[in-house]
């Protein structure tokens, strides 16, 4: 905090309106009470009726009955995208760059989705509907012509904003499922590192908030990669290359993780870190137990909610998108449980306090 940052003086001039807007949007996020009502719904129509009473308003009013979960999903996403695009269109200079960084992660997901889909001989039109609208870019749909990563980079991605992240994964190998996964993780690693560095350089409250969140994101990826790699043909050296080197685990934890062979070792490593220790406690796959993934989500939600405690920083924009995404996941989870009449697990959404 010690350094005097000039940019914060102009923060409200440049982005004050948008921050106000985002804080307003954040107040519209569903509360515990709303979730309680939602879980009591018997049909999707009930769900719609209740959502009408929240900030979602009439977002489903023009949909003919019967409703389906996928329609709800589309509409939820549409709303978030509309809000995000509005803010992106009004953003100024650095906030624009920041918001673009948020978009990049969706772009990565979309590219990977398209490549995987093409590998499995799916139709492009079918795949496109599954792409996240926040991550679309001009050249995206042409990724299907690439057969190896060099091709992918040279022909298509070199013009896209993702090009800088791609440097590490260019090779002449043909695309297969294994190296698509590797590409995804390498891209993500490069992306997270770039995003982290950008925030760090930005300094001030943005760095305070965002580095915390992104460090957690990096560590989560490292841990999940490690756990998922057990029993696959991924070598330990290759695995170590996929760890984003910006989290709290870096460097010691990552060295340990690179050597890990089973879940218990990972757990033991995580226990050295005060933040991650509670996440591993009490997880399991039994009924009533929360999965590690859910625990991570909960922690993410806490971090994102905390980001609203500080002003004059861009973290709120990132956090809002993430919280809203979590909310969409929650609503869809509840909707799925209702639609499939599988009410036993309806309570396992992740509340946003």
């Amino acid at each position: 905090m010690g350094s005097f940052d000039l940019s914060e003086i102009f923060y409200n001039v440049d982005s004050g309106y948008l921050e106000g807007l985002i804080r307003g949007f954040k107040n519209g996020i569903l509360r515990q009470e709303d979730y309680r009502h939602l879980t009591q719904c018997d049909t999707l129509e009930d769900l719609k009726l209740h959502l009408q009473g929240t900030d979602y308003g009439n977002f489903l009013a023009n949909e003919p009955s019967p409703l389906t979960v996928s329609v709800i999903d589309d509409k939820l996403r549409e709303k978030l995208v509309a809000e995000f695009e509005y803010i992106r269109n009004h953003s100024y200079k650095e906030l624009g760059v920041f918001l673009d960084f948020i978009k990049y992660s969706y772009m990565i997901d979309n590219i990977i989705l398209l490549i995987t889909g093409t590998l499995h001989q799916r139709q492009l039109s079918e795949l496109l509907t599954k792409c996240h609208p926040l991550g679309t870019f001009d050249q995206m749909e042409t990724v299907t012509i690439a057969t190896n990563t060099a091709d992918l980079y040279n022909a298509i991605l070199v013009d896209s904003p993702l090009a800088p992240f791609f440097k590490e994964c260019i090779s002449e190998e043909d695309l297969n499922e294994m190296n698509i996964e590797i590409i995804r993780n390498t891209l993500y690693k490069a992306y997270l590192e770039a995003f982290y560095d950008w925030c760090k350089e930005k300094g001030g409250a943005t760095a305070d908030v965002m580095c915390e969140i992104l460090a957690f994101e990096a560590d989560r990826r490292s841990i999940i990669i490690t756990i998922n790699s057990f029993g696959t043909e991924l070598t330990k050296e290759d695995r170590a290359k996929l760890y984003p080197r910006r989290g709290k685990l870096y460097p010691d934890g990552l060295i340990e993780l690179a050597r890990a062979d089973d879940y218990e070792t990972v757990k033991r490593i995580a226990e050295y870190y005060a933040d991650y220790r509670p996440l591993f406690d009490g997880t399991g796959n039994g009924p009533g137990d929360k999965t590690l993934e859910d625990k991570f989500f909960e922690h993410e939600v806490t971090l994102n909610v905390n980001s609203f405690m500080q002003q004059f920083q861009y973290g709120v924009f990132y956090s809002y998108v993430k919280l809203k995404e979590q909310e969409c996941r929650n609503v869809i989870w509840i909707a799925e449980c209702i639609a499939q009449r599988h009410r036993a697990k309806i309570e396992s959404y992740i509340p946003i306090m």
Binding site: H37, Q40, C41, D42, E45, D46, L49, H50, G53, A61, N62, E63, P64, S65, L124, D138, Q139, M140, E141, T142, V143, T144, I145, D151, N154, A155, I156, V158, D159
Partner: protein, 817 residues
């Protein structure tokens, strides 16, 4: 006006409605709009209520109607609006309506999808036509090189196009090509990806299509480009096609030979013509369907909204299964119970139910809603009051008094005859055309606000003219209506030469014959002062502001006292009405005493000084301000300090001080005693009593101190009347001398043109700054004086507004959104 003085008397009633008659009864009550239903199942979720299915069906109908409305808007077909408002249909008619809407929606969708396919077809054909036309030049270019192979061979390679050199190396037919159409904005990215992905082994030519197309699905206008890509080999072909697919380019087959192209072109032309006839027919059909919809859609929307509102209301009711009836509770004005009974009877009859609906008045401890019946004229003033806080049930409503005091206080700050006249004319224009304006609602919020306050503007205009006349200001100039009462020439030795040679002269009213009392015919032969308002001579006096300041300041204090005293007298009405005699004696009386002894005394001194001290002895006139300060410091007024106003002043002031202090103490003590009395009556435990006692003491002491301070600060606050009036006068003075005067002062022909031009600047500034901005500021200050200084004397404003279930409100809110 009687009903505006206090809010309506309300009563809580319970309705027992037979389930078959409930719908009709609620519908009747909705038409009446006098009952506010209470939610009897606040703990039940929205989707667990009894009539949720009906509400949902209404939602569905509304959705269909909205869809039809959108279609109407797309085709710019106006909706018929004859101002007719239908009754809510019976529940059984709902099925008919549902069927009708279902069919219309299906028809509409069918027509739309047909139209879309046709339009897509049409678009494709048009695109093909462009391709055939535009690629002609590409082929001709290619053919030119093809025909001159020797030329190409012999010539310099670098000067030839890629196509030319390739054509010269191998047979031309080996080159494959695709033609297509792509969105114009995607072209650069497309070109780049194509070049990169094929490593420069393709040749792309493109040309823009001048005509813009309409996207058949979204209806947006889009611009497109025709392109042709030449390549060699099957592998490249696949790649090119994939890229085209990725960029959503539409590919069309295009034959190589000119003859075939011509044939296809002719075929395309005839097909386009055919399609056009089909399209126009579909369009006619669509218009036919929509014109039917346009005729009825407003009526339908109102009907559906009414049904939905009725079911929403029914959802608030309790269901008594055993007796097959619905139980409702509602607030309604006691005076209108008969009307409600009538509506219920009508509802029961129209539904054919044999058992009558029962209305029963309930006793309740709850505080009822506040309902002030307003009309066109009073509603704006009531809104000003409600914006501060809705009156508690049956307490004195300040709005009838506000009707006069608000425009008056506004005008004190805005006093200018000319500005007032403009405002009056504008207000009059709004009132005169109100029927027309109210019918055509506009989306302009500011306009709507002014329209709502049209009577307020009218009155503010009239009062401003009045005060402007008093201040004798019209666009900062004075009018000499009755003739000035000052006579300059009565000074000895002031002849014409003397007057000409002196820029300014001191006119002393103490000299005989200078002020009033002149016998000369001019200026004012009556010998009396200027009969009404300010003497116009002050306009040319250099001490005009000093003179007016003292006048307006004192006037402001007197007006402030009057309004505050009036507020206190309304508090008297409140205490009497609520039979709160302890408060009356121990709170109200000391309050009045304090106000009168301090501010009342000051006002008395002001009036006394005005009446008794005159021009002759004005040099040793007492200073009221110092006198008042001294009074608080217990200094007796004396002649030496120029604070003595009249003989016996000192004694009088002492008496006041004693009365005043005792008043303060009385207020604190008596209130405590009163509380103690009421406390000892109640049988609460001793300890609790003591605790409350202490708290009450503190609150009461704070209250008393606050009131005493407020008396001073509120009086000071009324000085804004003077301050704003001064600001307004000075601003208009500046505007006149800086703008209008400079135009009028120009000599000769230049003056004519100059004045004309300057006039427009002057009038724009007058309206923009003096009327709008100054008017707004005076409005806000008048509002504050009412909300804070006036209403704090008697108004608690802790009620909640009566919002009856009324179709009128429901339809007007929503139809015009």
């Amino acid at each position: 006006m009687g009903h505006l003085f206090r809010s309506e008397e309300m009563c809580l009633t319970q309705l027992y409605l037979q389930s078959e008659a409930a719908f009709a009864c609620v519908s009747e009550l909705g038409e009446l709009g006098l009952a506010q239903f209470r939610d009897l199942n606040p703990n039940v979720n929205a989707f667990q209520r009894k009539f949720v299915n009906e509400v949902r069906r209404c939602d569905e109908m509304e959705r269909k109607l909205r869809f039809l409305e959108r279609e109407l808007k797309k085709d710019n077909i106006p909706v018929d609006d004859d101002g007719d408002v239908p009754f809510a249909p019976l529940p059984r008619e709902m099925i008919d309506l549902e069927g009708k809407f279902e069919k219309l929606e299906k028809d509409m969708k069918e027509v739309n999808s047909n139209e879309e396919t046709l339009k897509r077809n049409f678009l494709e054909l048009t695109e093909l036509r462009y391709i055939l036309r535009k690629t002609q030049s590409f082929f001709e270019e290619a053919a030119m090189f093809h025909e001159q192979p020797e030329y190409g061979h012999g010539g310099d390679e670098s000067t030839q196009s890629l196509l030319g050199s390739e054509a010269s190396r191998g047979p031309f037919t080996k080159l494959g090509f695709v033609t297509g159409v792509i969105l114009r904005e995607k072209m650069p990215a497309f070109e780049r990806v194509l070049w990169r992905a094929c490593r420069g082994n393709v040749f792309l030519r493109y040309v823009e299509i001048e005509e813009s197309f309409k996207d058949p699905h979204t209806g947006d206008t889009v611009n497109k480009c025709v392109f042709i890509i030449f390549f060699q080999g099957e592998q490249l072909k696949n790649r090119v096609k994939k890229i085209c697919e990725g960029f959503h380019a539409t590919l069309y087959p295009c034959p190589e030979s000119p003859q075939e192209r011509r044939e296809i072109a002719i075929g395309v032309m005839t097909r386009i013509e055919d399609l056009q006839t089909v399209l126009s027919q579909t369009d006619d059909h669509r218009r036919l369907v929509l014109s039917q919809v346009a005729r009825d859609i407003r009526i339908w929307l109102i009907k559906v909204r009414k049904i939905k509102a009725i079911y929403d209301t029914l959802n608030l009711f309790n269901v008594n299964i055993a007796e097959k009836c619905l139980i409702a509770e509602c607030w309604c004005p006691a005076a209108d119970l008969d009307k409600i009974r009538m509506s219920l009877r009508r509802g029961t009859e129209s539904s054919g139910s044999s058992v009558p609906s029962i209305l029963q008045v309930m006793k309740t401890e709850e505080s009822p809603p506040t309902y002030n019946r307003t009309n066109d004229f009073t509603s704006a003033f009531q809104a000003l009051i409600d914006a501060f806080g809705v009156a508690s049930y049956r307490e004195v409503n300040p709005s009838p008094f506000t009707i006069i005091t608000f425009p008056f206080l506004f005008a004190v700050m805005f006093g200018d005859l000319g500005h007032g006249l403009i405002m009056f004319v504008f207000g009059f224009y709004l009132v005169w055309n109100q029927q027309k304006f109210l019918r055509n609602k506009s989306n302009n919020e500011i306009w709507e606000m002014m329209l709502g306050g049209r009577y307020l503007i009218l009155l503010m205009g009239i009062f401003s003219m009045y005060t402007g006349f008093l201040y004798n200001e019209c666009f900062s100039r004075s009018l000499n209506v009755f003739g000035s009462a000052w006579n300059v020439s009565n000074n000895p030795g002031w002849d014409k030469d003397y007057l000409r040679n002196h820029e300014s002269l001191l006119v002393d009213p103490a000299k005989p014959g200078v002020f009033r009392g002149s016998d000369l015919p001019y200026p004012n032969s009556t010998g009396n002062p200027y009969p009404y308002g300010m003497d116009p001579i002050w306009q040319s006096a250099s001490n005009k502001i000093t003179f007016l300041n003292s006048y307006k300041m004192k006037g402001a204090v007197i007006m402030g006292l009057c309004q505050m005293l009036f507020g206190l007298s309304l508090a008297l009405y409140n205490h009497l009405y609520f039979k709160n005699y302890t408060s009356l004696l121990c709170e109200w009386v000391p309050k009045v005493v304090f106000l009168l002894c301090v501010i009342g005394y000051l006002c008395f001194l002001i009036l006394y000084k005005w009446a008794v001290w005159n021009a002759a002895d004005s040099f040793h006139a007492p200073s009221l301000m110092i006198g008042l300060i001294n009074m608080f410091m217990f200094k007796a007024p004396s002649l030496k300090e120029q604070t003595l106003v009249f003989q016996g002043h000192a004694t009088f002031q002492k008496v006041l001080q004693i009365v005043n202090d005792s008043g303060d103490d009385e207020e604190i003590l008596h209130h405590n005693e009163a509380i103690m009395d009421s406390d000892s009556d109640s049988d609460s435990s001793k300890q609790e009593e003591e605790f409350e006692m202490g708290q009450f003491m503190i609150i009461q002491v704070i209250h008393t101190i606050e009131y005493c301070l407020n008396c001073i600060s509120h009086t000071a606050s009324y000085l804004r009347l003077w301050a704003l009036s001064l600001a307004h006068a000075e601003l208009s003075e500046v505007l006149w001398t800086m703008v209008m005067h400079s135009g009028l002062a120009m000599p000769g022909t230049l003056g004519i043109i100059g004045s004309f031009i300057v006039f427009w600047g002057f009038s724009a500034l007058t309206v923009g700054i003096l009327l709008v901005m100054e008017g707004l500021s005076a409005f806000l200050h008048a509002l504050r004086l009412h909300w804070v200084e006036f209403q704090s004397k008697f108004y608690s404003g802790e009620g909640y507004i009566f919002s009856p279930f009324s179709f009128d409100a429901i339809i007007h809110d929503k139809v015009e959104e």
